[in-house]
């Protein structure tokens, strides 16, 4: 049994907490949250302890791994603490909003390696994963184009958007990670453009809600991503990989397989209402991948370097959006 300390007992923290308690080979040992009531409620449900500080967790000898699901601005410090305490860590994305802090953490982890998995849980979606496997197996030949869409059913609150770093750093970052993972490659250049079409407050916050990007790789292959902060039809995330010999796609996933034929129409069940309903199973699958790797299996997950890479692309995309020009992407490496 791998004993976890969990940082964060908010919405996504609870999801992780339940999964840790339910997974057959993990145990929820500690919960920490600045909201002590939330930490206590979650801990009590599964017989875990409430930690009174991060330090308590770093010092504990009954903690085998930590899961960081607290707010973004705590990630870098907690990662740093985990590195010092030699605790394998599953950390929600992003590493930090400030690229200098991101690089500092990456450098620290480079100097004192400990397993760190970034929570790009979409890699564990069975559809996306089967698509990647087909690509890796050469089913479509040489990859020439990758197209993706990432369309949320409803925007987050304006208060969140204001501190989110913008649509690319907040929303598209998942697709940047998927792109590199699927392509086994990182893009060399990005052009991004966008509009604020749904709510003037988003434009006032300096952000876009509707955007399109084209990414170009050194070998010539191209990638397209579009993003929307709202749909009228649920959560829509899809990937298509077009190669020299065929195409593979991770299609829309309906909520149910039920069709009504009536008059001149076929009416089917539509998509999941939001990203969470669609992606919920990926969290347990992601945890399982982390556990399997800690047990000695393959580390088939997004590393800290992968997290840095996705953020680097988001930075370049944001710059391109503001300049309305293609931008070369430079990847920093720890010394």
């Amino acid at each position: 049994m791998i004993r976890f300390a969990l940082f964060g007992a908010g919405f996504i923290g609870k999801v992780h907490g339940v999964n840790i308690a339910t997974h057959p080979r993990t145990k929820l040992q500690y919960v920490y949250d600045i909201n002590t009531a939330a930490a206590t409620e979650l801990a009590n449900r599964f017989g875990a302890k409430v930690a009174s500080s991060a330090e308590e967790i770093w010092a504990a000898n009954d903690v085998d791994a930590v899961l960081i699901a607290s707010s973004t601005n705590t990630h870098a410090d907690l990662l740093s603490g985990a590195i010092k305490a030699r605790k394998p860590t599953y950390c929600e994305k992003p590493i930090d909003m400030d690229m200098n802090r991101v690089k500092a953490v990456v450098q620290e982890a480079h100097n004192n390696p400990v397993p760190i998995m970034m929570g790009f849980s979409r890699r564990f979606d069975p559809n996306h994963r089967a698509l990647r496997k087909a690509v890796q197996n050469g089913e479509v030949g040489v990859v020439e184009m990758i197209t993706m869409c990432c369309r949320s059913s409803a925007p987050p609150p304006i208060s969140y958007i204001k501190v989110s770093g913008g649509q690319f750093r907040d929303q598209t970052i998942h697709m940047f990670d998927l792109l590199c993972w699927i392509a086994n490659d990182a893009p060399a250049e990005v052009y991004a453009t966008g509009s604020s079409m749904m709510d003037p407050a988003i434009a006032e916050a300096g952000d876009v809600d509707t955007s399109m990007l084209i990414l170009k790789f050194a070998d010539g292959k191209l990638c397209y991503i579009d993003n929307s902060r709202h749909t009228g039809y649920g959560y829509d995330e899809r990937i298509e990989v077009f190669g020299s010999q065929g195409l593979v796609e991770s299609r829309r996933k309906p909520v149910r397989e039920v069709s009504l034929y009536k008059g001149a129409k076929q009416i089917d069940e539509g998509l999941h209402p939001g990203w969470f309903e669609r992606m919920e199973p990926t969290f347990m699958l992601a945890l399982d991948a982390f556990v399997t790797a800690l047990e000695g299996g393959e580390a088939d997950y997004a590393t800290l370097m992968d997290g840095l890479r996705a953020q680097t692309i988001a930075e370049a995309a944001t710059e391109s959006l503001h300049k309305n020009a293609p931008v070369k992407i430079e990847y920093w490496q720890p010394a």
Copy 2:
């Protein structure tokens, strides 16, 4: 160019007339109909002659083939005339409503063979045809079950139903032919049951509008067919063949490939409004098969014996419906 005389200038006669005039290797030479105005209108449109009698056609030396699309009660006499005149014939189904007359015509054709194609045009539906090819190629292994549905969007007039011979002789007969064609076999026993659910007048006419049949073959394989005289969603005809190694199906065919995602639903284009819109392309394909056979190609169509076989099954099914018991099917052979 194969020069055709056409019997019948009604709805389906016109369809055949236009096809004969449009097909690159056939010519519409004569049209005959007891409704002279209808014959004249169709003939004039394509520069064909109006025949004043069947005899004129049998005697004509500029007629290479005939197409019988006149009313059912004329089929047997016209087939007999065509056999005597040695004219290859494409004849709409059925041969005749009276099985004694059917047998007489079959015997006559057996004695004086001339190419006769029965108008079971569904054999030429590209979906059904691809399904059959998969079955013949062994894609599903040994055939164990065949399931079919044949659901019309709207019933014919009661006046027609009264003389139609009942749902099995009129509607299901197409499926009986498809079944034997796909299975390369003829069923040994049939159980049929039905209800009159949509219009009391259909029950008063002694017929059913909703029916189900199970047919059993000597080797144990089973077939199911259901029939309805109305749907609330267009014309629905499908076939599934289940074998020891897989399943192949001729699925529903949508009118268009357009989807609207809105709210919690995916709304697609539905089915064709009626059987004709769905099956229209099969008529030209059927004509082409007849022409190809006359030119020396393979006679890949329903023969007069196939027409007899389908009618024999319909007779047994009708008997089963009335007895509410399974009935053995005996196939008559010309001497």
Copy 3:
């Protein structure tokens, strides 16, 4: 928390045991199995007690409900015990193979009512449930035809088939229950036929592996069911309800929504390898329905009378198969 005693720690017993331990409002208190090692292993995993006899469970005052997942021949006695001990019971189907014992248990429960849910878990499949809701809401108008298929990917061992009571009592019984539940009605007559096509040993055991049934209701509506003990393509269970105004179907459910386009083909992920992979989520949903009812919610599940009804239909279907004739279905009522 509802404290459960579980009878049976075999394959399906373990499924229930894990669900009881995981459900937020239930607790696995006792496990009993004649295989003590199996009971102990399951109990230890979740901190439950191992019961040494059924009597221990009937006498226990820390048991709020029981779940019977032991072998079929124990169901009647355990149900009887639960009725006497006033323990609400979730019982796997069937009640018993002997209809006299079935009736005796039903009579006993009638005299001393206690909540009993029969484990017809397919009622909790989200697709089937949405189909039923559409039917109940009148989306398809008056129901005229219901068609179902129930095709297992692989047959059980011959040893099991020999004591299974035959395909209808063992396999089709799930569809009989679904049929009545969807139609809110019970069929009046059944015709069944079948073949043994895949393994001579099945025929020698007096059973069929490939079968078709037509069921007729008093109001004229018809139902078709087909069954197979093997497919070459995974587990295939579907339902279609055809009404006066439209059609609703619970379609095939693919394992993943991934398509590969290559050459002239579109290659998609197929079906679940077996019934369990397809139906696994229904077990927790079924448990939740039972728990919700015990907490005072609606008893939206199959009752003991529903279990009797499904078995009654299976008896008539089996008689029809042997007679090769339609059989009227008589429903027994407790006095």
Copy 4:
């Protein structure tokens, strides 16, 4: 009957010739081609005359309309001739490769208006047309994103590519027209990028074979188009319109609706082998629209101005590709 003179008896000329001869309200009166043998063969098949020069056609009083399907470099002169001769004209795209000549023809037509339809036949694809109707009807609310793909199964010969003007002027131009037609609007800016991935000869010819474009409209809505000169899976052209309230898509169209389930896969029929098989029905529908307009109906087709607009976008896209920067699109108007 509208009597047509046809310019061009090559591949696409023959398609138009057969359609004119088959359409119930048009007649093929003249055929002209510099290849007299080709013109003669086509004319003879339908009893048409062979013209010895364009002038003969301009002077003929038995010509009601002309159809220009000759090589691109003849279009401008023939359009000019038709304008002078007051002949309503159906002209294959593009107007001319030289934008100065294009503008000159547009100006001439502006000064002496005569009905001119540009052969953007994809507007008549029933799927695309139904999509547009849904958008016009407000089914998806305010349009925010339009995504399109246009992927040919195989590249044209290098000799053709060298004089084609590049992928955007040759291939994407159809999508530019569809985009404006669907959006009822013209884009203000375009960013294009591309690669030559399949054949070095294409790069040597200065062209790309794999490209992506983002087009931005004044109101903020965005459009994405990708193009490929080859696929491993047939012809793939799709359109998606994403609006504030939903999404409508013109999906892939399978060749047949036949599925094979075998093992862990569902194998369906794929796409049409090439653009012509997919789009063939649009040619007759386009002709019918032209005829209907000449008869006094609505001119529901691409006009000469629409042709200019599509070419203008192609010019800007080509400039963007070469500059690797977004380019503003300026639309020229006749004086």
